[in-house]
């Protein structure tokens, strides 16, 4: 055994060891790929938010009225509220499994900037749960008799708005991921934060059918997206650190 001890003392590099050269980008890609792979392997999780979205939207004609004129009036709001709820429902998958199996600790202890790691998870979450909703929305808009002028606006505003929902939602999930019984607390925390997106998005669709120019609406949504892209992952990262504590 003593020769092992000898090698210990001889092979000491002096000074601080050089940093392992890992590009953040490749870690970012790996995280993105991993999350997408997990989602693809769990088809149900992929489908559930979409089905939820479909069902909630189809509840509106049943609950409100099947009268086309009335549905036309509420179409924009109904689709937007349903998209909001669907993205809220799917948020649970964002950090939960990673927290439970310990992968989250590995992520937090990686020498990568956490901002990009959280961003990668956010992007994959949006690709899985947000994008399908955006793609399905024209069909539902048709079922609710949304005026034809507003279709593109609906798709575009959802395209700009649903990432914001994911990003804000991630903060709430990160704050509550360690809680045993989260229940509705996630919704209570996150839903008020999403009010601006809902207001602007739904209003843009209404205004599009009225022929109002929409530059302002897109600018506001874009500003929200830029703001949340730059700040929300930082807040989520900080929240994750608090939650694993």
């Amino acid at each position: 055994m003593s020769d092992t001890a000898n090698t210990v003392n001889i092979s000491q590099p002096q000074g601080r060891a050089p940093l392992a050269q890992v590009s953040t980008f490749s870690a970012f890609k790996a995280t993105l790929k991993r999350d997408l792979l997990i989602a693809l392997k769990r088809r149900n999780d992929l489908l559930n938010p979409l089905m939820f979205f479909l069902i909630v939207v189809s509840l509106f004609p049943l609950g409100v009225s099947s009268d086309p004129q009335e549905l036309t009036r509420i179409a924009a709001g109904a689709v937007w509220v349903s998209a909001l709820l669907a993205s809220m429902l799917s948020l649970d998958n964002l950090f939960r499994a990673d927290y439970e199996d310990g992968s989250l600790e590995q992520l937090l202890l990686s020498p990568q900037p956490l901002y990009f790691m959280v961003l990668a998870k956010n992007i994959s979450h949006w690709l899985i749960s947000g994008l399908p909703v955006v793609l399905l929305s024209p069909l539902l808009a048709y079922m609710l008799y949304l005026p034809a002028d507003a279709y593109w606006t609906l798709v575009l505003t959802l395209l700009l708005g649903t990432p914001v929902l994911s990003l804000f939602g991630a903060i709430g999930v990160a704050l509550t991921v360690g809680l045993g019984s989260r229940g509705l607390i996630l919704a209570v925390i996150v839903l008020p934060l999403t009010v601006p997106v809902l207001i602007i998005g739904a209003k843009a669709v209404v205004d599009a059918s009225l022929g109002v120019p929409l530059g302002m609406h897109y600018a506001l949504l874009g500003a929200l997206l830029a703001l949340s892209l730059s700040l929300a992952p930082l807040a989520s990262a900080a929240a994750l650190k608090i939650s694993v504590n």
Partner: protein, 248 residues
């Protein structure tokens, strides 16, 4: 300066000092509040449009203005909690949330009562009321998060973060609600700035009431913070001494 700052962070020091301030604050509040309320009820002239409902303004506006100040206060306390790990800041933030929620609820209720004769309904999706309602939801979220997390340390940090995120969001929410509201329907002429004839006989009592309610807010914040300090420091000797001494 820094020494003072960190001494303020000591719960014991705060407890002792606030005990000295409280009587003075209570006297000041009682005087200002009595003057303000009597002035508002007896001497303020009737509004040519609103009649005697103008007197509601002297309650609603001070309460509402403080409920707006609550989120920034919690956010500042949150930054101090996260950066300097000062326990007192978290205690203040913890106590400010329910008090702020109460102020917001009262502001909403008085706003609704004031609005009824004007709108003909108890609730209108007026920009101010709506953004106040959403701020109420945000505060409820912070309180819910606080009670959901068991570890006080994690709860402190999580709520600090949520308060900061919320405080960044409040102006965005306010702006977007106003934008949504003004384009939907013409703004109700219910806001103060549109009362062009706004003489000192109107605003002097209002300023007095705002000061009075601010002091009231500070007093109730200090009172519940003192309780929180006792609760958290219950094992330290000075609290044990207080418990032993106090007549119940």
């Amino acid at each position: 300066m820094w020494q003072w700052f960190f001494r303020l962070g000591s719960p014991k020091w705060f407890y002792e000092m606030s005990g000295k301030w409280l009587p003075w604050l209570l006297v000041l509040m009682t005087v200002l509040m009595s003057v303000g309320i009597l002035w508002a009820l007896l001497f303020v002239p009737q509004d040519y449009q609103q009649g005697d409902t103008i007197r509601i303004m002297y309650v609603h506006v001070p309460v509402a203005s403080i409920s707006l100040a609550c989120f920034p206060l919690m956010a500042v306390a949150g930054v101090i909690t996260l950066v300097w790990k000062m326990k007192l800041a978290d205690m203040v933030a913890k106590c400010a949330a329910p008090i702020g929620a109460w102020f917001t609820a009262v502001a909403l209720a008085t706003g609704a009562i004031w609005g009824q004769p004007i709108w003909g309904t108890w609730w209108a999706w007026d920009a101010r009321l709506t953004s106040m309602l959403i701020q109420f939801f945000l505060l409820i979220g912070v309180i819910a998060l606080r009670s959901a997390i068991e570890s006080p340390d994690a709860a402190a940090k999580a709520c600090a973060l949520l308060a900061i995120v919320g405080a960044i969001n409040v102006p965005i929410i306010k702006y977007s609600v106003e934008w949504w509201n003004t384009l939907h329907q013409p703004s109700s002429d219910f806001s103060m700035d549109e009362n062009s004839a706004f003489g000192p006989e109107i605003w002097v009592p209002l300023v007095i009431m705002i000061f009075a309610v601010y002091i009231f807010f500070v007093i109730s914040l200090i009172l519940s913070t003192r309780n929180e300090i006792l609760q958290r420091e219950r094992r330290s000797q000075w609290v044990v001494d207080i418990v032993a001494k106090e007549q119940v």
